[in-house]
């Protein structure tokens, strides 16, 4: 679980990719994602693959991305086998598998180089309703906390003799009740406290809250935008 999760969790770094405006990072990921969907021949898919690898090298996140690739590769093997046995040619099946890996990796790339803070700024820039953005931000912020709570509850119940690994499947599912009940209650209580804290700090007073930082495109960002759009368009045009 942790293995896979590490492929999607933000990693601090000062690489040239990390320094980009988050909207540009999003643009890059969307371009890679779209290319993977549009392009059909093996040759072009390999180019996309190489592009992703170049980005991951520049962003110094190759190790993490590799984990995503392995996870995706496992899945795509399954896709490959199913397609092949469904009657499609081997080459076609390989294309589909590669496409899947590229889609997953381009998504992973975005989350690895974009901090949750930047993510929030992007969502706000899209003028999404503040409540929605805030709900998203809070969920991501509290995931590690909820995980800690789960571990602590498991510790407490293990100390009372609960053995999660033993017993037939039905018994083992029942054993999760002493874990889930306290967890759910804790998180419901937590939500209540969060709501109180939000209210007391004036959440919702204004429909147009101001912001600590504003997103501004630097020259660097503009150059990267131009380069990627040109490359993106070229690949598509060349494909036809």
């Amino acid at each position: 679980m942790q293995f896979i999760a590490n492929g999607f969790i933000y990693r601090k770094s000062n690489s040239i990719i990390h320094k980009l405006d988050p909207r540009v990072k999003l643009l890059i990921s969307i371009q890679l994602f779209t290319l993977a969907l549009l392009v059909s021949d093996l040759y072009n898919l390999l180019i996309i693959f190489v592009a992703i690898s170049i980005f991951s090298l520049l962003a110094k996140i190759t190790q993490r991305l590799l984990r995503t690739m392995i996870f995706a590769a496992g899945f795509s093997m399954l896709i490959l086998i199913i397609n092949y046995f469904a009657g499609y040619s081997l080459i076609y099946s390989v294309q589909i598998a590669l496409r899947f890996i590229s889609i997953v990796c381009s998504t992973s790339l975005f989350f690895l180089v974009t901090s949750p803070d930047e993510l929030e700024y992007v969502l706000r820039w899209f003028r999404l309703p503040r409540d929605l953005v805030f709900a998203f931000v809070t969920s991501v912020r509290f995931v590690p906390v909820i995980l800690m709570d789960t571990l602590q509850i498991m510790d407490a119940q293990k100390s009372r003799g609960l053995e999660l690994e033993k017993g037939n499947p039905i018994k083992r599912i029942k054993k999760f009740v002493p874990i889930l009940v306290p967890l759910i209650i804790n998180e419901v209580i937590r939500s209540g406290e969060l709501a109180e804290a939000m209210e007391s700090r004036g959440y919702g007073i204004s429909k147009k809250p101001t912001s600590l930082y504003s997103l501004k495109l630097a020259n660097y960002d503009m150059i990267v935008i131009v380069i990627t759009i040109i490359s993106f368009s070229s690949i598509i045009l060349l494909g036809y």
Partner: protein, 280 residues
Amino acid sequence: MSVKDLIRFNDFSFKYNSRNDKVLENINLSINSNEITVLAGPTGCGKSTLLRAIVGLIPNMYEGEYTGEVIVDGIKIKDAEIKEIAKRVGFVFQNPENQIFMFSVERDIAFGLENLSLEQEIIKKRINEIMETLNITHLAKKAPHELSDGQKQRTALAGVLAMQPKILILDEPTSLLDPKTATEFMELMNKLCKEKGMSIIIVEHRLDLVLKYADKLIILSNGKIISNDTPENVFDYKKDVIPELSIPFSTKLYRELANNSMKFSKPVTGVEDMIKEVKK
């Protein structure tokens, strides 16, 4: 410059819709600026409800039967907009984890200021000032899971103080801290109160840690105020004290000795006073 009656309760009673009896009954109370008020009492006595009534969570978030008045800085809480209250009252809850919403310390401190629609320049200035005051400037870009409990608490405090409230409410601030950190925290509260003239209300069980800083001690029991006076007067040996209250040892010793005919110039609420009295 001290302001009297910064907070006033006039015959205030409250019953939650979800419960059968009143949680607070006939509360009459006056709290001034430039003072640290400690609120104590057994669990379930209504302390949290009282705090919620000051900050407006009652009636805005909790419904029930609301009788009487709560007036804060001249505003009647019952009819006031959250906006008006949030500008004046800051609430630091017991668990700092549940008050830090954002991914970095400085973004979280900015939260309240963004809600108040302050200009970016002012937001930046206030954040820098408060981080300076609380000694957390080096933590500005850190994520909440990278902070210790004490640091989380100071972050939560910073987020509230940045809004420059006149009144600061703290719910059991020492419960997660070790005694040394707790003492440092109380020193900070004392400094804030004297330098900025704030009115600080602290709910606490651990009277031994906070009593020496209290200008006023209010004891609540079963929804009613049973004491509201300076700590010396509350613990005067001639007066009874409910057994659930954790009285500091120096005070217990004073009461025991005074009840056995030893003479004291005034009631003892701390270690230094006790030492002075015995040496006389």
